[in-house]
Symmetry: C2
Subunit: 287 residues, 2 copies
Amino acid sequence: MIEIYLLEQLAAVAERGTLLKAAEALYLSQPALSRSMKKLETQLGVSLFDRDNSKITLNKTGQYAVEYARRILELDREMCEGVADFDRRQRTVSVGACAPFPLGELTPVIQERFVEMAVTTELADDGKLLSGLRNRVYQLVILHEMPEDKALFFQHYLEEKLFIVLPKAHPLSGRKSVSFDDLRGYKVLLGAAIGFWMDVCRRRLNAEDLLIQNSMEALNDLIEASSLPHFISDRIIERGFLSPDRVTIPIEDPDAKTTYYIACLNSEKKKYGAVFSAAREAVLRNR
Amino acid sequence: MIEIYLLEQLAAVAERGTLLKAAEALYLSQPALSRSMKKLETQLGVSLFDRDNSKITLNKTGQYAVEYARRILELDREMCEGVADFDRRQRTVSVGACAPFPLGELTPVIQERFVEMAVTTELADDGKLLSGLRNRVYQLVILHEMPEDKALFFQHYLEEKLFIVLPKAHPLSGRKSVSFDDLRGYKVLLGAAIGFWMDVCRRRLNAEDLLIQNSMEALNDLIEASSLPHFISDRIIERGFLSPDRVTIPIEDPDAKTTYYIACLNSEKKKYGAVFSAAREAVLRNR
DNA sequence: TCGGATTACGTGCACCGTAATGATC
DNA sequence: GATCATTACGGTGCACGTAATCCGA
């Protein structure tokens, strides 16, 4: 068998043209390279170079061998990275979600069950979540629609309902409830990382009225400092996030209410089943 | 970079299940293998085995690594054989022909021009010859029809004409010429290695009348010992192979006369051009 | 007690570098 | 006298083997 180091040296010689240049690149002496190339030739039982006593050049067979060498080296490199990557993936649970709230709820539940593992989380749309699940990019996903794929195991997770927070002086502040159509024409503050809610807002409101903030801090500062409306959900309200000098009004459209589902591959149901039930229990406990 | 010997050892461990068995198979001590596997793990930066203090088993990552190892080893093996094979092909000229006579003529011409190379010859039908030329199985071929492929370079080589040799007592022995139809019903001796002539005989004569001899000696012995008809060609007659106590009669069908062409790839015209003209010259000189 | 893995230690070979030589421009 | 390959010789790292230890059936 031909060892990798010989192939590396061959590839270097092929790339640099001379033993000297290749030796420099490999931090090796010319004699060492010279010997290696000879060794390679004896091991393969062929001559790879035309030797002109002061110049070696790859012959046809040599060029052919270099192609193999490159392929083997590439595969070897790929192995080093691939195995490390695989190992890392073995030790991480990737969770994708269509919205931040249920993701925030689920993460600690997972971390609790898989103490020794890393948990990575990501927001994405339902299409990417589903394909990611199939490609093993995600092990668990949170969707806002029931998946129809028979290869997936899923479970109802929780509901979330959207409210609008208005200053008391706002024209709509007296209403028992409002619709997205009522809100049209009013500027509204919202964060960028709100998952599929962004699609709802874009669909139901005017694009130019959406004051999207990339950072959570900027958003909170603006909410504090301005009298602009912003959204909030029942789940956040339950946590006690209510400002006393504003009114919080439910949004009546069906769009403003959603149901989340947790899903994983059927084949991994056994592994993540405990997470599913623990997640449900956590929801009930936190009420 | 991971060296091949480590991958070989990994593959052996994967195959045999224990270090001990693998070590025996590799003619190596267990400690050596134990160290190698540890080394592999440190080099890859992952653990490949579950160590149960008295038993090691590949973990998921280990199994994944083994897949890579097998692929790399396979490629390495393939290189060893592939390069040697390529080298051999560099040093051989393969000639395919549809008939033995022109092949016998051409071979010495090639050998003369490519002294340091091996010449291998083979009989095959025109279809195989043409595909073999494209696949580099043959460098030169002798056809009995003009090739239409534009990627091929070809040249008229020589003609060959078939005669029938009959004992003087044969009913047809008085004829100036005969046709295949005249010969139908008479047994006839012929060699197996006559290329496309065999197709002609099968097409124009009855299968049960063809007494095909695999060895040239058997054929000659039978010709000597029997009074059965056999074929001969003008080219052989020119060489003086005529038996005094038999009559040699030309076969009048167009099928009994053929024209041979030498062909090679256009891209190798330069390399074999000299062979083409030398072959023609040799034909003229031998008249 | 045996099968199987690991640790400890000494050894030899294979690969390396330095120096010298050869060859070509 | 550059540039580049090869030969000769001496050094060393590292992969190996032997011996000893540990652990579980």
